[in-house]
Each structure stands twice: as C-alpha cells, then as structure tokens.
Subunit: 147 residues, 2 copies
DNA sequence: ACAATGCTGACCAAGTTGGTCGAGAATAAC
DNA sequence: GTTATTCTCGACCAACTTGGTCAGCATTGT
C-alpha cells in the first residue's frame, strides 16, 4: 500500500522541515542523512516539486526547501502525491464518496469505511508533528547531555 | 493492499454462507455467481481450506462448505489468510505490538496506529454481517415482490 | 569558463498479480 | 470396476509494479 516512494518522500520532507530556514538543502545531504538512494530521491523530489510542496534551486549553493510551513503540509496530500491513490482496493476511490452503491460486491462498504477513516486521520497529521515526535524521541533516547 | 485474492475469496465465502445448509456448493457455481475465473478460484479455495475456513468434498455432488457458522468467520482472519499481512508498509507487522520504536523512521507510529485500528475493525466484521447487508441491499433495490 | 547542482527520461532486474493449463486423485452412480 | 464428476496441485505465463541506476542536459554562482 505504501511503497518506499511514500516513505522516502516523507522522510525527505521531515529532513527539509528540520533544516528549514538554513537555506537550500542538497539532495546528497538528505539522501545520506535519511538513508535513501540519491538518484532515486531525485524522482521523489521532482514529484514533490511538481505538486508544490517544495521549491528547488539549481547551481552552486542550490538545493531544496519547503514551499510552505511544515505545519501546513498534511500527510494525506503528500502521500497521495507520491503514491497516487491510497485506496486499499481498486474499486474504491475518494471521489466515489456518497451512496453510489456498486451492486457487484458485498464488501465495498467495508473498504469505503476504512478508507474514509484513514484519509481523515492522515489529513490531521502534519510534517511538523512528525518532526516534533522525532525530536521528542531523540531527547528521550539520549538525555545524557543534561548530566 | 487488497488484491483480487482477498476480494474474490471473501466473495466466495459470502456465497457459501448464503447457500449454507444446502449441501456442498460447487466451484463452478460460485465462480459464475460471483464473476470469478473458475481456475483462479481454485487456488483461493485451496488456501481457505488449508486454514480451516471451509471443508471440501470430491466426486459427483461434491463441493465446498463453510467449516464454521458464518458469524464466526471474521474478515481479519480470512483476509490475512488470503493476502498474507495486511500491513500498509513493510516495516510494520502485527507482532511488533509494543513500544519497540525503530529509530530509523519518524513516521512508523502513524502506520502502526492506522494498522492497529484497521485490524481491530476488521476483526469485528463477520461474513454473516456481509451477507445481512447484501440481502438488506437487495431488498431495498427490488421491493417489487411485495406489491 | 567552469564547477556545482538540479532535471529528465531511458533503461533494467526482480518480484507480484491474475490468471491458464494439464495431470492426477477421490468418490458417487451405474 | 468403469465412468463421469468434482476437487487438488504444481508448472507455467504475460503484464505490470517496484526500486532503483545512468547518461546527458539545464541552470546558476564564482
Ligand atoms: S469489487 Fe470492490 S470490494 Fe469487491
Ligand atoms: S521505514 Fe517504516 S515508516 Fe518509514
């Protein structure tokens, strides 16, 4: 359901969010920090740029930056950009919202219900929240600096 | 996430549940009623039999039957039998339940949360409920018999 | 001019999906 | 015990997806 496209793409956005305000971040840095193949990451960044999540600049000192505050990037839009539809099964899409009951299959309502719930939850989670949790976890693991 | 294996397999179980108590149901009947390739259905029934959801008998008059009441067949077990793990992403499995925080990726908690929720919901839905809903829908569509 | 950096599309190996096919095994009916 | 019926099992297949790699081009700072 979620391939490395979505996973790596979100990792990249987290990285950009962490280093926001420090000027453009280069793909090589993202790739090495987040353990992603550099040339594969290219394609993911291209997709994120096409959909307006990041801004890129070429030439020396170039790189990538978030186009919006991390708090305004919700996981739902990001993942749908990277993965296409997140539908758990082919016959369910987000625009088949209402009571359009397909008479073919008696289990469609299950997937529609689960899909709607998932999309709702993903829309609530922002990249900023992911960064917060990551940093909170890092502090919990290594509090040795405060000795 | 859910391929035709799971979809067709559940359709077949619904069919068996509808015709429960009428003796063994032949795969050709299931296939034609539920629009499934007959020889493909073979493999799905084999898997369902291996995991004890159905019972099969050979020879003339043979066929397949539910091994348990439809109310005791929950969608979670059936789908995990047919599809393998339903995890939305590779690094999340059902037995990584507790606080085993993988330090690699800052979004694992999202998938863990969604996955747990999904499994909980699927465990609540039985094949019997699918049959009920299907029949309720059929009556809603064609109430013309009561004229 | 040149070096650094991003952009793009072609290409590729491995795995998954959604089947098909054919040989065989069990069993009921005759 | 022969035959027709039905399930069983494994091999095989074409198309597609995944997770990349690579070469070449475009842009820009120095
Ligand atoms: S065809 Fe969509 S749920 Fe079965
Ligand atoms: S590696 Fe599992 S969520 Fe990123």
């Amino acid at each position: 359901m979620i391939s490395t496209k979505g996973d790596y793409g979100v990792r990249a956005l987290i990285d950009l969010a962490v280093h926001a305000g420090e000027g453009p971040v280069q793909r090589a840095d993202i790739a090495s920090r987040r353990h992603i193949s550099e040339s594969y990451l290219d394609h993911l960044l291209a997709q994120l740029r096409r959909d307006g999540f990041i801004r890129s600049t070429r030439g020396p000192g170039g790189g990538h930056e978030l186009a919006k505050p991390a708090a305004d990037l919700c996981l739902l839009h990001v993942l749908e950009s990277l993965e296409g539809s997140l539908a758990p099964i082919g016959c369910v899409h987000e625009d088949s919202a209402d009571d359009e009951h397909d008479p073919l299959c008696g289990q469609q309502w299950v997937w529609r219900e689960l899909y709607d719930g998932m999309r709702e939850r993903l829309a609530e989670i922002s990249v900023a929240e992911l960064v917060e949790r990551e940093q909170a976890r890092e502090q919990a693991i290594a509090p040795s600096y405060s000795i």
